[in-house]
Subunit: 203 residues, 4 copies
C-alpha cells in the first residue's frame, strides 16, 4: 500500500487551537483509497519547521505529500495553486519575522502544486462542501512549507503528488478565540480532507 | 405540553435553497424540553407572509414563537435583538419593493425580542457553536415578520417568548448557488436551533 | 441665522485618531446653507458624554443637531436610521462596559432619526460620493448619543432635525493605526458632511 | 529624459467605468522625477491585450513599465509582488474564458515584480495613503499582462523596472455601478500612482 504524508501545524498568532492539528491526529493511520495516511505535526517556527518537514519526507519515502494550514478568515476549503519563493510577515512562534526574504537563494520564483486541485474542488462540491482554488498561500510559514516541499521534490527529480491545502477556522477555534470569522465544524473539515485524499488515490 | 411555532422561509433573491426551510421541516413535530415544535413555512412576499404568519399564531395559540431567516454573508447564528417599524430594500418574490415605509402606521419605532437571546448565545458557545446577538434584522421581510409578531403579541397583551433568529448560509446553498460566503453544514444549523429552543424551555 | 450643533468623538478602542474630530474642527464656525455650524467634541465615556451632549443642546438651543461617529470597517458614509435603547459592548475610554443595559429605564425601544437621511444619501451620490442608509448604529457610545439626543428632544416636544451619521476611516487613521480597512481622505469626509448639512438646509 | 510606459484597462465585468483609464489619461505626457509618462489603454481581451501591450513595449523602448488594474473590493493601493503562469476565471469582454491554462507554454511558474514595491508602499504610507504589497494578482487579465511583461523583458535580457499595481475602486465607480465596496476619490488614486512613479525615479 502507498503512503501519504499529511502534516498540520500547531496553534499560532494567538489562535488558541489549530484545526489542522486535529485533522492530522484523526486521519493518522487511516487508509483512504490507495493510501495509508501518516499524520505529522509541524511547529510554527521558520527555523525548525522546514528541516523537520524535509526529514519527515526523507524518513518515509512517501508516495504523496499534503500539508494543511489554517487560513483564518477564509470561508471554504482552498487547495493552493502556487507557492512563491518569499518569507514575509508576522513573527513565528519563536518571535522571528522575515521581510521580502527568499526561501531558497537560488530557487525559482514559484512552484505549482502537483495535486489534482481542480478535481479536488469538483469532488468537494459534488459532496456538498464549498471549495475553490486559491492563488496565494501567503508569505508566512504555510507558503514556506509548500515551497520547500516542492523544491525538495524537484531537487530529487521526484514526481509524487504534493501540495498544500488551507482550511477555514473551526467552530471551536472561533468560540475559544473570541474572534469572529467564518467557521466549519471540525467534522466537516476532516471529512473534506478525506474526500480530497480520495481524489488523489483516484483512477 | 406547551407548543412552539417555528417558521422558516422559502428561497428568495436568487438563492436556490433556503436552509431555514429544511430546519423547520426537520424539527416539525419534535419535542424539545417543554415544547412541541410546530414547523411552518412562509412565502417571501410582503403582502402574504405577514397575514399568514398571524393566522398561524391565531390557529394554534402557541406558548412561544420563533421565526428563522437566512442572513447570507453572516458567519454565525445571530438571534436578533430588535425589529424596527420599516419596510425597505429589494423586491420580494412577487416583485414588490418598499422604500422607507412603515409596517404599522401607528406602531412604535421598534420592539425588542422577548427571547432569552443572551442565554441562547452563551448556550451555543458552550456547545462549541459560534453565535452572537445581532442588533439589526435589516429592513426586508425578516424584520417585517419579527416586528409584526411582536406587535401582534403586544396588541393582545400576550407575553409569550417571541423573536427572530438569523442563520448563516448552508454548505449546500453555497455550492448550489455558486456565491462565495461563510457557510455551515445543514446539520449544524438544525442542531443550533434545537439548542436555542432548549434554552427557552429552561428552568 | 439658524445654528446647527455638530459633534464628533475623541479617539477610542485603540484607534490613534478619530476623523470625526477633524471634521468638527474644520466645520466649526462655518456657514452652510441656512445654518451656522457649532462644532463640539465628546469624550468616549458613557458616564460623561451623554450629560455633556445634553448640556451642549441646552446651552445653545440649536435649530438642528447632528452627531458624527467613526464606523471602522464601513465603506461609505452612512446616516443612521434608528437608535435603540441599549448599551452593550466594548469598554469605553474609562474602562466601563455595559451588557444589555437600557439607556433610559422608561424610554421606548427606539427612536428614528429626524434627519432627511434618504435625501442626504441621494445628494451624496449625485455628488459622486458613496453613501447608504444604515439600519444599526450599534450599541456602543454612538448609538447612546443618538438615542439620548432624540429622547431629549422628544421629552421637550422639540421637532428640530436631529440624528447621527457614521463615517468610514480616514486614510490617516489606517496608516497610523496599521489596521487594514476601507478609508477615505479626510477632505472627502469633511466634504460629505458639508453636503449633508446642505440638504438639511434645503428648500 | 527617460520614458515610462503606464497602461490602464478599459471597463470590464460589468463595471461601468475603470479608474485606471482615468489615471492613465491624466498622467499621460506628465514628467515625474526622471521619467516622462507615456499613458496607454488596453482592452479587456485575452487575445488582444497581450500583443498590444508587447507592441507598446517595442515601439517605445521604455526605461520602465508599470501596468495598472482595478481590484474591486480591495481597500488600498497594492503593488503586486508576483505574476503566475496561469489564465483562469471569468470571461473577458469578448466572452473568452480560460481554466487552469498556461500563459506561456514553456515559461516558468512565476516572475517577481522588478519595481521597488516595498519602498513604494513606505512612500505612500509616509504621504498618508494606505498601501500594502499584494501576493496575488489573480489569474485574470491583470496577472496575464504582468506575466507577459516580465516574460518579454526576461526574453530580451532587459532589466528595466517593471511591474503591476492594483488600485481600489473609485467613488465614481461605486456610485455608478451601485455595488458596495471600498473606494477612493479619483484624485487620491492618481496622486498615489504619481508618488509611486516618484519612488521609481528615486536616488
Amino acid at each position: 500500500m502507498k503512503t501519504l504524508l499529511l502534516t498540520g501545524f500547531e496553534p499560532f498568532l494567538g489562535h488558541p487551537i489549530n484545526p489542522t492539528e486535529q485533522i492530522v491526529k484523526e486521519l493518522d493511520g487511516k487508509e483512504t483509497g490507495d493510501y495509508q495516511i501518516k499524520g505529522k505535526l509541524l511547529p510554527v517556527d521558520f527555523a525548525e519547521a522546514q528541516g523537520q518537514f524535509v526529514s519527515y519526507m526523507n524518513d518515509l519515502q512517501h508516495d504523496a505529500v499534503i500539508s494543511l494550514g489554517l487560513a483564518a478568515g477564509r470561508e471554504c476549503i482552498t487547495p493552493e495553486r502556487v507557492a512563491i519563493n518569499i518569507r514575509d510577515g508576522e513573527p513565528d512562534n519563536k518571535g522571528n519575522a522575515h521581510q521580502d526574504a527568499l526561501i531558497e537563494e537560488n530557487g525559482p520564483a514559484a512552484y505549482f502544486s502537483t495535486l489534482p486541485i481542480r478535481a479536488m474542488v469538483e469532488e468537494l462540491n459534488a459532496a456538498g462542501l464549498p471549495a475553490k482554488i486559491s492563488n496565494t498561500a501567503g508569505t508566512y510559514l504555510c507558503n514556506n512549507i509548500m515551497y520547500s516541499m516542492l523544491h525538495e521534490l524537484e531537487s530529487r527529480n521526484m514526481t509524487v503528488p504534493a501540495g498544500f491545502i488551507h482550511v477555514p477556522a473551526s467552530h471551536d477555534l472561533v468560540v475559544k478565540g473570541s474572534r469572529a470569522m467564518p467557521s466549519w465544524s471540525q467534522a466537516d473539515l476532516t471529512k473534506a480532507i478525506e474526500i480530497m485524499i480520495g481524489v488523489l488515490a483516484g483512477p
